[in-house]
Amino acid sequence: MIGCFEGLIITPDKIALSVLSLGLAVAALLAIKKFNLSPKIKVGLIYAHLITLLFPFVLLTTNFACGAVCSMYCYNDTTSNIAYALPTTLLLGTLAGFVVIPGFYMFSNRKTTGREINSFVKKYSKKLRIKTPNIYLIDKAKPIAFSFRSFRSAIFISVGMLDVLNKKELQAVLLHELSHIKQKSSLLKVSFSLLRLSPMSILGRFHHDTGKEERAADEFAARIQGTSRYVNSAKKKIADLD
């Protein structure tokens, strides 16, 4: 028994803790807005904000003192349900973003057996000092390429892409995706989506600039290849296929 809800129970201690928690939530939000932080710190601050924002609500509506006998007196009212629902939503959102969605894609597609692709990705993962991602094949003729970084990083690529891209263009696409994994793009995308759940996010415009990341990933591929020719021709072919 972790405790039970008995409506809103306010004590001076709980108020002090709640004010402190909300203060931390605002501080985390301000830090995201004001400072140019690394992706890792940004993700950490987003979660810190969401947790400290939800904490007072759960605290004020939970009575942990009633212990094992609380089921005799406790009842489910709207406040109690919301108090459970909000952190549950956060938990499910996090699970969906980092475990369920990548897991679904990993189990529904098979790994590529292409030796050249695998050795190329292995070589550049080592150079970028990231764990070598698995490369999965999507059985579609449409142009699809994306990457995930969650419990295991992975690159997904459609057969249609392999059909039309030449060796250098395919390498440009793989380098682009490796750059996303290095920059933790997917982690940031999911985290910023979760931040929109926070009512405090209306205080400022918090959005994740994917255009900037795409440009950075293209630049990374062009820098490694010594020319932007292959990135550009791969992009043109992808646009033609779409």
């Binding site: 590529t112 057996t113 292409g114 030796r115 050249e116 692709i117 094949l137 059985d139 003729a141 449409k142 057969v159 249609g160 392999l162 059909d163 039309v164 060796k167 395919l170 072919k237 033609d240 296929l241």
Partner: protein, 124 residues
């Protein structure tokens, strides 16, 4: 049964496929299995065409159930191998069958009488 929904009546011909679809399927009727690149290499000698256009057309023919495809492993990664699902004869029979059925559905006894008169004329 092939999935053909549109029949075009041009000045000199009747077609159910676009000109590029027609060129691609003709190659597959002649040859057993071909990759996107193989079809591109054959076609580019005859007309100006992009590799991506061939890939798009093959996917369209796959959705129309006129071709089948399987994934083949290669050193540089996997790719699709396409093959025709029916012979040219089967395809043409299927188009005629669909057309006749549609005419009978639309015009009923008038169409049946017309066909009967037309065929008896041909016999005599």
């Amino acid at each position: 049964m092939v999935n053909v929904n549109r029949i075009r009546f041009d000045k000199n011909s009747v077609s159910v496929l676009s000109p590029l679809e027609n060129d691609v399927i003709k190659i597959l009727w002649k040859q057993d299995e071909r990759r996107v690149r193989d079809i591109y290499q054959t076609l580019k000698k005859r007309r100006k065409v992009a590799l991506t256009s061939i890939a798009v057309i093959l996917d369209r023919l796959y959705e129309k159930k006129l071709v089948s495809r399987r994934i083949e492993n290669g050193r540089g990664g996997e790719h699709y191998i396409y093959s025709s699902k029916c012979t040219r004869q089967d395809f043409e029979n299927s188009v005629i069958d669909k057309t006749v059925n549609k005419l009978i559905d639309k015009f009923g006894p008038v169409a049946v009488t017309y066909f009967s008169e037309r065929f008896s004329k041909k016999k005599s």
